[in-house]
Subunit: 502 residues, 2 copies
């Protein structure tokens, strides 16, 4: 049983619940509380500490929501697997120049010790592939190098520009700024987005086809109202797990369609009798596959086959491409209004910019107007204005170009450092995005590879977390994300991986 | 047929579609295009103007989304009833000191000619009570005084404080600010909100019970995931129409429960076999009823009767109360976790502050964690920080006190000016909020009253728009909102109403 000794300070400096929360968090991190260990009940903890039970509730709730502990019905609260925690710790250790996680991220960086949690749960509820690896004292070595495929680099973000724009806008003292904007997003921003999408992604749309919303998840919630409740939707396997969970929460029937080296198979769509397919043709997550034009045409042909069929294109990180000529979006090839295009500024600007956009084909626009016109906008007019000016005054383009250069540098460095690995591993996904994949040529398992890396303080991620249906033929594959690491960190991390794996 | 002569300027100053949009909008406002008139097809308009069809599409789309025109399948585009348009015009005419519409509003103030649209559609799709009144040349007199029950007063908003806080926060250059926050909202803001709710509304909750989201509508979308799909929900009749439409879009079975002078009847709930009830006990919209403690107890007892029963308390404008002692929230009396409490900063701060909050009972919190943990937050961390400091540093309290005084002044003035009306009208809803109700003692219809006012340039609102089920016994009732008008405007508007109605 856990020793409940906690020194509480009643001097008013910190809330009691915060002190309890921090104490337990520290104990978990320092390994004094082990994975799977049961915490005292809130009642007995409250009695012991002589505080209100609600205080302990709050502390436990915070630990729960940050993924340190989990609750099991009728049994109590248990410490989560350490796996999660190391990553959080690492994120917190980073300073202002450090990386933060983007929308398509499994977690977000925290501040002031309240590391934010998001898809952290994603893992917890996902395949428990990594669980076996979490044991032994060595494995508690703290993570020095985190190759998260979801981290991005904020070190070059023009904070000053952002602040100047904000200041200028607020100093207008224009009260209409404080009014609620249009449900779809204000026209000026939608016009700017439509121009940007046209020039950068070949997307053909008028501003009226764009719905601006606070994050992809919200836009998908609207899409549920537009597409209706009884949708059989195809997803690739592996795919982006968060979207999978959201479709699950819609009670959609999700059909995992296997992919070949070109992505989702159109024949699979036909045979599975689905009406919608969720795809990431520019850069599939996690495989990194870029869908060739022939396959795109097949998908579009499939969609044309029935009026009710649609393709949902999630173009989450198309801004970053290093090899070959830019590939336009799938929407750009769509002549019949069959593609629902979704994009975000979370990756290209910052996760805090809670602005995503969805481009609806004309036919669905009518349904949007009918089913969703009464949903107020989720993005404040002020934030829309700031973003609009950031894009319109060229800051976004400059920033993107700078980041492309930075990420390209890291990408090329990593490719170079991966040369010695080529005998034992097969490399893929090297055309775009912020991560690469290594597939073991020998029989080693994902767990072994992850554990070997962790023993040396390196955190890597297994592809199995992204499977929505087991795929026994899949060889152990590791995702190596480099967005959040400096070139120096990449060098050092790869040195350690060489020791661990070669 | 409409004369298509539009002078387009190709010098690049303004988009072509904007010019077309503005031209048509002007024609509608100036009465050159009349209600019900058909616009040329986009094809013929494009041919005539020698522009791309998509340009005309965009212009029409904008007119459509702003409610100037409507599309009828297979028939084309038609000019909407003028009723809508006058109100928009009025909103646009107001300057920086003018009123803007809050979350529980049927429209939002627009800027730069792009008047925003929201619940405008609400009316269009609602009871067409006002339609009959829109005819004749006199009725086109532009609205000088708009007694919208949804307008709020932004003239005293401390823009400078808001800007200073924003500036300070951004100047920290803390990249964790640009990371995505916790799905429920960052703990620091939730803690602040829980304290505010406890002290001002008697709400008992820990920060972990609070979900922060970008607007009530989004929170209701989450609630759908929590409560499930097959809910029989009771609403008062009349009620808040936007919530009604949202529940409709959930495919909930909505049961209109009649109210007496104390609000929703608990016996009605029992007999209708519902599992949820949406109520506004502190200040029902639109009737202004404040639910007495006895009725609250009945509702809570009803909810206790079955584990699956919940009360949804929308506490949308409880900040403004002028008579009697403050009445705590329904949640404050709830000992068994049966109340889902929803509130917003849209009314008390500004509609642009896209921050609402929902307090979940413990039992539903578990379901939230299970069903919604993967939905990312819809409010940026920066906005959360700004709001948190605004509240924590006492600005919110000061602003609320200032606004209470301002609204009380308007409220008392209006009550005084209403004295001469008491013979012909019955006054109600005078305890709280930003509007009063006048019910005709004679046989005049709502339409007659509205038309009579409009003929003199005064816009008033009928209660029938808020009915979700016809109520033939209801006498003509007018809502008089005073939030958005200055005292001088209230005086002048009431003078005109006296001429119109007495």
């Amino acid at each position: 049983m856990y020793d409940m000794t906690i020194q509480l300070h009643m001097d008013g400096g910190k809330h009691l619940y915060e002190q309890i929360y921090e104490h337990i968090k520290r104990e978990i991190r320092e390994g004094k509380l082990l994975t799977g260990e049961r915490l005292p009940s809130t009642r007995s903890m409250a009695e012991y500490l002589q505080v209100a039970r609600s205080t302990v509730d709050t502390a436990y709730g915070q630990l729960l929501s940050e993924g340190y502990i989990e609750s099991r019905p009728y049994r109590g609260y248990f410490v989560c697997k350490m796996d999660e925690l190391f990553r959080l710790e690492d994120v917190e250790r980073r300073t202002a120049s450090g990386p933060v996680s983007a929308d398509k991220g499994n977690r977000s960086a925290g501040s002031a010790g309240f590391a934010s949690e998001n898809g952290g749960n994603d893992y917890r509820n996902g395949q428990e592939a990594e669980e076996g690896a979490v044991s032994g004292v060595e494995s508690r070595k703290s993570v020095q190098y985190d190759f998260s495929p979801h981290a991005i680099d904020m070190s070059a973000f023009p904070f000053n520009v952002w602040m100047r724009i904000t200041k200028n806008i607020l100093s207008e003292s224009d009260s209409s700024l404080f009014a609620q904007g249009e449900p779809q997003g204000d026209l000026v921003l939608r016009t700017t987005i439509s121009r940007y999408l046209h020039s950068s992604r070949g997307v053909n749309c008028s501003p009226e086809q764009i719905i601006v919303g606070a994050g992809n998840d919200y836009l998908l919630l609207l899409l549920e109202k537009i597409l209706g409740r009884h949708v059989r939707i195809a997803m690739e396997n592996p795919t982006y797990k968060r979207a999978y969970r959201i479709f699950q929460s819609f009670a959609y029937t999700i059909v995992a369609v296997d992919m070949d080296e070109n992505g989702m198979s159109a024949a699979g769509l036909e045979s599975e009798n689905v009406t919608a397919a969720y795809v990431m043709p520019s850069h599939q997550f996690p495989t990194g596959t870029v869908m060739p034009i022939g396959r795109r045409a097949e998908l579009l042909r499939w969609a044309d086959g029935e009026e009710s069929r649609y393709l949902i294109e999630d173009d989450y990180d198309s801004e970053f491409r290093y090899r070959g000529k830019p590939i336009p979006s799938l929407q750009a090839s769509d002549r019949r209004g069959k593609v629902i295009y979704i994009g975000t500024f979370s990756k290209a600007i910052a996760p805090a910019i809670r602005v995503s956009y969805m481009v609806l084909p004309e036919r669905l626009l009518e349904r949007y107007r009918k089913e969703c016109f009464f949903y107020s906008t989720t993005v404040s007019r002020i934030d829309q204005r700031i973003l609009n000016e950031f894009i319109q005054n060229g800051h976004f383009e400059r920033y993107l170009n700078k980041m492309r250069k930075i990420y390209r540098g890291k990408h090329e460095l990593l490719l170079e450092l991966l040369q010695p690995f080529k005998k034992a591993f097969c490399l893929s996904g090297e055309n775009a995005g912020l991560h690469l994949l290594l597939t073991a040529r020998d029989g080693r398992t994902e767990e072994e590879l992850i554990a070997g890396a962790r023993d040396l303080g390196v955190k890597v991620y297994g592809m199995s977390d992204s499977f929505i249906q087991s795929n026994p033929t899949q060889k152990a594959t590791i995702l190596l994300g480099y967005g959040g690491l400096s070139e120096e960190q990449i060098r050092q991390g790869m040195d350690l991986l060489k020791k661990a794996w070669l």
